[in-house]
Structure formats: structure tokens, C-alpha cells
Amino acid sequence: MTLRVRIIPCLDVTDGRVVKGINFKNLVDAGDPVEMAGLYDFEGADEITFLDISASSSGRETTLEIVRKTAEQVFIPLTVGGGIRSVEDVDRLLRAGADKISINTAAIARPELIAEIADKFGSQVLVLSVDARRASTKSGFEVTTHGGREGTMLDALEWVESACDLGVGEILLNSMDADGTRAGYDIGMISAVRKVASVPLIASGGAGALSDFAGALDAGADALLAASVFHFGVHRIGDVKRYLAKEGYSIREESNQ
């Protein structure tokens, strides 16, 4: 038997509510985060990711409380990202019940943060979130910040390689071009990053049809993250898993269904 493909619903949280938009714009309300995390766990999610997109510190406090409440009742790994700038921020989230944290903008501004977090808590807690889009950098993929609003001209492949060296435990690769479009994962980007990443790779952005999930796995993803297709009931987690099992991929059986 082999390591199972992981299906990870992502909850974008702001001021205590789950929201979802297209290309990070036009956000609409999608529900209560604690309830949704519990439901996804029941339906067979292999991990849960919370992305805190709050602009304010009170929004961040609210997210901490959501993590606390979710961790009380959900016994699968919880990853939390958004606004993490220091070892202290990581400590606070782990104490609230997060198992992994994901960093993005702060690591681009100060790459040593990766080594600082990995030294203190181990690489396994640290997910590097890479918001990338097609652009005229060396590899053709550019890292963006601020939810895809700002370009950096930093080459996505070079960034992933150096982050692996600095000690990240996993890469969460978000396609800014595909995000929320349900037009399919960016297959070219996934396979390019797979070639340089020595750590597990989570594909994100663009999941629509069931065959999209298989496509991302074939391109080299170890785990599949999706938001809108789950939040708006296009697919249940069980639908994705049954489809993948039928196509010959190894999934974790959801014992509730």
C-alpha cells in the first residue's frame, strides 16, 4: 500500500466568516468556519486549511478563536496561514491547536524566517505558500504577494528551490491565474515546480471538473487543495475520492459515508 492522496478543503476566513471570490476578488460569504471544518472532516477531508485573509488585528484574534474551537473537535491536521510574520505568531497558532502554519509574503520579505521557524518547531510545521502566475521571469512563473495583487519578479522555481534548502516542509502552490475559475489546475506550473521541489507539493487553484483533480496528481502533486467547488456544493469530498479511487489513485476511505 502507498501514501494516500490528500484532499484538502481550504477555508478563506475574514472576520469570522468563510468567504470565496474569483482571482481573489468579489468575495461572497460561504459559511461558518467551525461548522464547515467539522462537516468536511465528517465527509472525509484529509486535512483542513484555514487561510486568514483578515485585514485587521481583531480579525486575526477571531481566527485564533476559530482555530481553537475547530481543534477541540476535529482530529485531522489543521494548517493555518495568513499574516504570519514571526516565530511568535507561529507559536501562538500552534498553541491554539494548529498543526502546521503556512507563510508567504513575510518569507519573501525575509527568507531567514523560514530557517528560524524550522529550527524552532521543525520543518514539518512549515508550509510555504507560493502564489504564482505566468509572467516573463526566467522559468515563466512569477511569485506574487498580497493575494496575487502585487508582482515581485521573483522566479517561482528559484524561490521554491531556495525555500526547500532553507527548511520548508511542504509547498502549497496556488495558481493566481486559475484561482476560483474552476477551469482546471495549472498543470504546466505543477509539473515545473515538482521538478525542483524535494518536499510534498499541494496543488491549489482552478479545481472544477473531477478530472482536474486527477490531472494535478499526474503532473506530480501529492495533495489537492480546493475551496469553491466544495463550499458551493459542486462536488462533495466523497465524490472526488470515489472518482480518484475509480481511476486507480490511492485514497483514504472515509468511514462515515
Partner: protein, 202 residues
């Protein structure tokens, strides 16, 4: 009462919540007396082998475990909390380049998995001894792993095996001393059932 040894390593709250979910009194503590006298002691652990060993020794965890085992009081090591029970860890660290000594309850090393993508992260199958007490009713279940190093040699006790790159020990039941390379506290329903099985042995 169940004590979770607080020596600065591991997601202690996750472990506390999962063990408390069974309805028992669970304390996260570094108090030596409490740890020695509790009905069961859980030794979590994440990060590097050497830094876990350092933290464990500062908290007198080595003496606590020794005292408990000499009195046949159950101890459960999780993840790096399992690895430090072996003779040595071959994980490089800043201060020590090749090998660091462990508590040597089992006389074999913990070495790097031979897989192209590390850490081994996610849900994987466990092949447990059919007579296992801890895996009773859990023969077809998957558990959540996050690690790059593991023990690969048989230790002669009741064992469970998992394969990722190499075949390695995913759990050991050896008298009062039990250990898992996976995280039962993060392994959903199967993990909670595993924890209940361990608690039933106390």
C-alpha cells in the same frame, strides 16, 4: 490521570485534546512527580532528534521514563517521542553531524527514509501484528505520518510496519513501553480508537 510530558516539543494541545476526548483527565505537565505517578505518560515530540533529546534531558524526561518502565507503568512515545527510545538518531544537527545517542530501550538506529520526496507526510497503511492490542479493530485503517527519519530494524516485540521508500517500524508494543511513528492524535477516528485501545491497557 494521563500526563502529557511538556518538554518544549510537540503540538501538546493537539495531543491533550485527543486524549481528553475519551473523557479522561489529561494534564500537560513538566512536573516530575506528576509524570511518574500518572496512570499513563504520553511523550510527544516533533522536530529534530537531537533537539528533542536535549529538551527531554533538561526536563528529566529520561529519568521519568526510566522510573516508570522499572515499575511497569505505561509510556506512549509519539513521532520523535518514539524515535528517542532507540539507541541513536542519525539525523544531522548543528552541534552533532552524524549521530546522537537516544535512550536505547531498543538497540537499533533511527535513520533517514530512502524516498525522493520527504517528509513522509500524510495518511498511510499500518501492517500490525494480528495479536496487537493497540491495533485491535483497526486492521484496515490509515494513520497520519509526518517524518523523514524512522527505525527500520525489528526490535523483537509486537510491531507494526509501514512502507514509504523503506519499510519502517510504525509502532511498537513492548510491555509497558509503546510507541507510534504516526500521530494518533491527528489520525481521525482511527487515531482516537488507537488511543482508546492504549488507555484500556492502563
Amino acid at each position: 490521570m494521563i500526563a502529557i510530558l511538556d518538554y518544549g516539543s510537540g503540538n501538546l494541545r493537539s495531543a491533550q485534546r485527543a486524549f481528553a476526548h475519551t473523557g479522561l483527565d489529561v494534564q500537560v505537565t513538566s512536573d516530575v512527580r506528576t509524570c511518574i505517578e500518572s496512570d499513563g505518560l504520553v511523550v510527544p515530540g516533533v522536530g529534530a532528534f537531537q533537539s528533542c533529546m536535549n529538551g527531554l534531558q533538561i526536563a528529566h524526561g529520561d529519568e521519568i521514563i526510566k522510573e516508570r518502565i522499572s515499575k511497569s507503568r505505561p509510556v506512549l512515545g509519539i513521532c520523535v517521542g518514539m524515535q528517542i527510545l532507540f539507541a541513536r538518531g542519525l539525523e544531522p544537527s548543528r552541534s552533532q553531524s552524524s549521530s546522537a545517542p537516544g535512550l536505547a530501550y531498543w538497540d537499533s538506529p533511527v535513520s533517514k527514509l530512502g524516498a525522493p520526496v520527504l517528509p513522509h507526510m500524510g495518511w498511510n497503511t499500518v501492517q500490525a501484528d494480528p495479536n496487537s492490542v493497540l491495533f485491535k479493530g483497526l486492521s484496515d485503517e490509515t494513520f497520519y505520518f509526518v517524518h523523514s527519519y524512522a527505525a527500520k530494524d525489528s526490535v523483537g516485540a509486537m510491531q507494526a510496519w509501514t512502507t514509504y521508500g523503506d519499510t519502517f517500524l510504525s509502532a511498537v508494543e513492548d510491555g509497558p513501553l509503546s510507541a507510534t511513528q504516526f500521530h494518533p492524535e491527528k489520525s481521525g477516528k482511527a487515531g482516537l480508537a488507537f488511543i482508546r485501545n492504549w488507555l484500556a491497557t492502563l
